[in-house]
Symmetry: C2
Subunit: 162 residues, 2 copies
């Protein structure tokens, strides 16, 4: 009878094998398509987009798909509750704006992105890549979306077939 | 996100070790406190509760904490957008009601609960236990909440210290 100690031939603990696996998946392989609204749009348009696309987080972009801000379901619910005319209220007024938008990149691990989601108490992160701007500075182009749903789906996939 | 091939001394693949771990955690160990509203309350009260408690899902209960329905941020956003008087609109009108409410139990694995969340496209599940009712039937008492946030937090914990 072989002892059921948690160490393998390789010297790695069971715990470490799990942690290693969870740290090996990159954002690029699980990210979704980003749903964006233009910075010049109004809260009403944003709410409509949120329902049509059935997402909980919208990214606000300017020309070139450059990240300007983020709108959550919570932001929009708070706004619709107030006595605002949401047809004429610009999204810029209610969004969380750069540089306060937590983001991730395709090369980052899902684990690190998940840690950001928990620490900053958000539902999703924009997946971005740096692009050089004409004025010599850098912008962040939105190329994807990583949400708690993607992480939950990954959790299900990794535990499948047990 | 495909597991690397690699068999251990024990004959278990790396993949299987990970799947086994993800299937070993029970809902009871990661669940949160449930935030509930009474079935007789109005949509306005529900929205206020959602903001005060900062949750994305509310459970609607009747006497004894028995599950009657669920309200999501999406349900409430849709309702506040409409031309309803939310001070006089009962939550019963807009909630998803039993028996259509997907739920979990403390003894179920987080993996199975996560699979329900993905398959039914919800953000959270009520954690329930069966209780006998006076008429001989069974009710579901709400004793917790399991959300995508709990699962994301578990994902972060399992990958910690790598």
């Amino acid at each position: 009878a072989r002892p059921r100690v948690g160490y393998f031939h390789s010297g790695k603990s069971r715990y470490r094998v799990v942690a290693e696996k969870l740290n090996s998946v990159l954002v690029d392989s699980v990210k979704s398509v980003p749903i964006v609204v233009n910075e010049k749009s109004f809260v009403y348009d944003a709410v409509v987009t949120m329902f049509i696309e059935d997402v909980g987080t919208l990214f606000v972009v300017r020309e070139g798909g450059l990240l300007e801000g983020v709108l959550s379901r919570k932001d929009l619910l708070k706004t619709t509750l107030g006595s605002h005319d949401i047809h004429n209220l610009p999204v810029k007024v209610v969004m969380t704006r750069m540089p306060n938008v937590v983001h991730t990149t395709p090369e980052e691990t899902v684990w690190l992105a998940a840690k950001k989601i928990i620490e900053h108490e958000v539902d999703a992160l924009p997946v971005v890549r740096k692009v050089p701007l004409e004025d010599g500075s850098e912008g962040l182009e939105v190329i994807g979306r990583l949400s708690k749903t993607n992480i939950t789906r990954l959790f299900v996939e990794l535990g499948e077939g047990y």
